[in-house]
């Protein structure tokens, strides 16, 4: 990548009206935006209607990082290249401290913008949050409305009784957190 060519900028507008200016290469990490840019509507501000500004910031952070990795991967001695382990650690760090509602929004955004890597990170995070939990805890965490009648819920519970058996590990782990 030569320094002389001026970097083309793309403007994105979040649902709450904030405008972000990013390099085209960064925006192109999102497949949805890439398609739009290739159809040549780069001049206008691209409205991203379902994503709020704080979420979009996070998404852009991710895209910038992806660009940083890929742009340097062509050079022989690559300081930014990551091993599998570093990649995992980075993903973990990126998702650290993301709460459940932010996570949902992040998933919606990465699904809408079609960013596979970010979607994967989000899904994995979500899975790890759900894994050891009981239905009521999951509902509380993600604000899911329980639309079962108590009888219906009891029935499903009975059908899957084995899944609700006391785990010797469950208590230990939840108390350690």
């Amino acid at each position: 990548m030569s320094e002389s060519t001026e970097k083309k900028m793309v403007r994105l507008r979040s649902s709450d009206g904030e405008v972000f200016e990013v390099e085209e290469s960064v925006a192109k990490v999102a497949k949805t935006l890439q398609d739009m840019l290739e159809e040549d509507c780069a001049d206008a501000v691209i409205p991203i209607t379902c994503v709020r500004a704080p979420i979009l910031t996070k998404v852009i952070d991710y895209c910038k990082d992806q660009v940083m990795i890929s742009s340097s991967s062509s050079t022989t001695n690559n300081p930014n290249e990551r091993t599998e382990q570093e990649r995992k650690a980075w993903g973990q760090k990126f998702m650290e401290g993301v709460d459940s509602s932010t996570l949902c929004e992040l998933l919606v955004a990465s699904n809408f913008l079609n960013i596979e890597g970010l979607l994967n990170l989000g899904v994995d995070k979500m899975v790890s949050m759900i894994q050891g939990k009981y239905p009521q805890e999951i509902r509380d965490m993600f604000n899911v409305v329980n639309d079962f009648t108590p009888e219906e819920e009891e029935e499903i519970r009975n059908q899957n009784a084995w899944a609700f058996e006391r785990d010797p590990y469950y208590k230990k782990r939840s108390s350690s957190k």
């Binding site: 379902c50 994995d124 899975v127 790890s128 894994q131 899957n160 084995w162 899944a163 782990r173």
Partner: protein, 186 residues
């Protein structure tokens, strides 16, 4: 969460282990329908995958990394050449139990509710064979199922029924079930 499209939620639920996945059926109607299907529709979440599926092990899943319970299996072809190495990270609530030994082979079984899966390993060659899929068993059988191994062309025998008169045999070579009429114990 309500805004989350079905395909994303399906992806999430599909990566859960079997036990958490069953618990999730209780969360709401939408979750239940995705996991176990609604009306005549097939479930959207892949059903067999949750028990043991290599790609389901998520890199960010600290819980299971920490438990660090994994089995390493090696696959060999007929000539004894190693073709694949596989490590299974198992849900810590679902340990495979050892069924027994027969003809120098070790038999393992993973019985989870209404599903059974088997492995046979050969300690000499370190080769492993697993049953082609997870076998569903019916409600009545699930509680009374007794598993055992027997020497019948290196097959795995499934004995069921109170008097053990009814014996279903799972042949590991062909991966098929058959029934034996003759009572084993008189």
């Amino acid at each position: 969460m309500e805004a989350l499209p079905d395909e994303v939620l399906t992806e999430i639920l599909g990566r859960l282990w079997k036990k958490p996945s069953c618990r999730c059926k209780c969360v709401s109607k939408r979750w239940r329908d995705l996991i176990s299907g609604s009306g005549g529709d097939k479930p959207k979440v892949p059903n067999s995958g949750c028990l043991i599926q290599k790609e389901n092990i998520s890199p960010t899943d600290e819980v299971y990394d920490a438990s660090n319970f994994s089995l390493r299996f090696f696959r060999f072809d007929e000539k004894g050449k190693m073709t694949a190495e596989e490590s299974l990270d198992l849900n810590k609530w679902v340990f495979p139990s050892m069924l027994g030994t027969c003809d120098g082979l070790l038999f393992y079984c993973l019985k989870t509710g209404k599903k059974v899966q088997f492995w046979v390993s050969d300690p000499v060659t370190k080769g492993i064979r697993s049953s082609p899929s997870v076998f569903p068993i019916s409600d009545q059988v699930a509680d009374r199922l007794r598993l055992g191994v027997g020497f019948r062309n290196r097959s795995l025998e499934i004995k069921k029924g109170k008097n053990r008169a009814a014996v279903a045999v799972f042949d590991f070579e062909t991966g098929e079930w058959s029934r034996r009429r003759r009572p084993v114990f008189r």
